[in-house]
Symmetry: C2
């Protein structure tokens, strides 16, 4: 049996989880480490909630609610109803199973454990074979400026349903935060670094903003393949297209290429865009990024697995 390919995936929630699932479905052929965004983390009812890490974890554990794209399948909502009775806010509702995750995470963090260790134990307990790493053990909080001023990420994303125009994005705490040794090691030892089709401005940017991460990726032996989150002029999900318009860019695969090429010079070696966006091919390569095409809308297992295979092939690390 050939050695497994060490894949290190930079991931947000929705797109990150789906892409992670694809590589996980490769089984022994790939050894997957997911570096998860924690800029979306929040404290609610005294609990530490890590939405992006959990979306990846539940997806890899086979527990995810694929319909909503977040939370646990077959979830119940008794605690949320009780919290509402107690007069608590109701726009960020916690499912009962999900609440167990947050309760344990919070207890362990308060006991002094690293988020890295807690995340690892939770994922292993749920049977996740991949290694799931928070980007940092230090707090980084994504803040969004809209016409209402600076909002916490989840306030913007969930409460306001990402309907407001994004005027500015900040990752509070990122300058003082550090990527963990585990994250730097996963980058350094990777055979392939993949940037998931997550929101480049809100989900991938916090990871790349951590001091040392960009340098580590550029110094790594592995090539970096990014998957476009934009297909046919719109985001597969979420506000990526709207944000690009806010920033004066057209939401298209070429715009993603421009974003990665200009903001992170030399980071992305290959950009994978959807077969539907072949019209953007010339614009992508104009940014000095190698172009690859694949089916990147991956709602189900077969398409997730196929995209993972395609990415390995694109990187010259053919899966079989």
């Amino acid at each position: 049996m050939p050695e497994p390919v060490h894949v290190t995936l930079l991931a947000g929630g929705f797109g990150g989880a789906r892409m992670a699932h694809g590589f996980a479905l490769l089984g022994d052929r790939a050894e997957l480490t997911v570096i998860g965004n924690t800029g979306d983390d929040l404290e609610l009812h005294g609990l530490h909630i890590s939405p992006d890490l959990d979306t990846v974890m539940y997806t890899l554990a086979g527990l995810a609610n694929e319909e909503t794209g977040w939370g646990v399948r077959g979830e119940t909502w008794s605690a949320a109803a009780m919290l509402e009775t107690y007069g608590e806010q109701t726009w960020f509702r916690l499912g009962d199973r999900d609440l167990a995750t947050h309760t344990l995470r919070t207890a362990r963090l308060r006991a002094g454990d690293r988020l890295t260790a807690v995340t690892d134990d939770l994922a292993r307990a749920l049977g996740v074979a991949a290694t799931l790493r928070p980007m940092s053990d230090d707090p980084v909080r994504t803040k969004i400026r809209t016409k209402d001023g600076w909002l916490d990420f989840q306030e913007y994303f969930v409460h306001h349903r990402h309907a407001d125009k994004v005027e500015e994005v900040r990752f509070v705490g990122v300058d003082a935060a550090r990527p963990t040794p585990e994250v730097l090691d996963a980058i350094e030892s990777a055979d392939l670094i993949v940037i998931a089709p997550s929101n480049p401005f809100l989900s991938v940017a916090p990871i790349l903003a951590l001091p040392g991460v960009l340098d580590a990726i550029q110094a790594a032996a592995a090539r970096t393949v990014a998957i476009s989150p934009i297909v046919g002029g719109g985001a597969v999900r979420g506000p990526a297209a709207d944000i690009m318009r806010s920033l004066g860019t057209t939401p298209c695969a070429a715009g993603i290429a421009a974003h990665y090429a200009t903001r992170y010079v030399g980071l992305v070696d290959v950009l994978v865009i959807d077969d539907a966006d072949s019209g953007d091919a010339a614009a992508v390569t104009a940014h000095g990024i190698t172009l690859a095409m694949a089916e990147i809308v991956i709602p189900d297992e077969p398409r997730r697995l196929q995209l993972a295979r395609d990415i390995l092939a694109i990187a010259g690390l053919a899966a079989d």
Copy 2:
């Protein structure tokens, strides 16, 4: 309309909740303050759990599971199942609605709020008209010595199903703890002090062990009426009878009289025993305690209300 009678009730969980319910059913005729035992409190999954306070609160809010005698009616158990998947202990299972209570309590305590304020807000939010007070804001932890050594209360009570012989009971922290000003005020301003038919050794004793409580009750203008937790030679529920046997006493109404009269001289003015225990009458009065008889097994609303009425009548504070 006559002035309401100010009733201050010393209460554990099961018997305390039922007795509190009886007084609450008097409506405007009584103004009830419940002083709840917190010796049974525990920390689990990082959450502060107050089983006795919650049993009283849920009962007064009309949310109690009357079948089990604890927890919330129509409870779901999704979080508990998830915690089990994470490898957490399963002998003390938290229902989903109940978990919301513990989550909020813990968050507020960690934010620096007093247990007194948190308990008050939770109970008010659930529509409880009575005033519910923890006996103290300071930690007191009931420990039970059995053949296995010293156990935490819930370990003895729930995990070992109170099956082991109790060799000794300790209230760790009680000497350094203080009753709250609200508790002392409720005792001082009471028209009637009632000791619920709760376990005298495990549920009432921690309250009376708090420095100053016994003095306050003895100094109070109100008479103190205790309700026997023993009927027909057995406890209505729980290990009271077994504990009495462990201590070399016969579990009977006379034994309860002996306990209160010898351990807390001058505390109890009247002991209410069950009609079924009329044979113990002479033995009770021999302890210098006034005897009263009533139906003290109160599984349903009519009997709870009737016992509350009977107690007011016994104390010369007739309800109507």
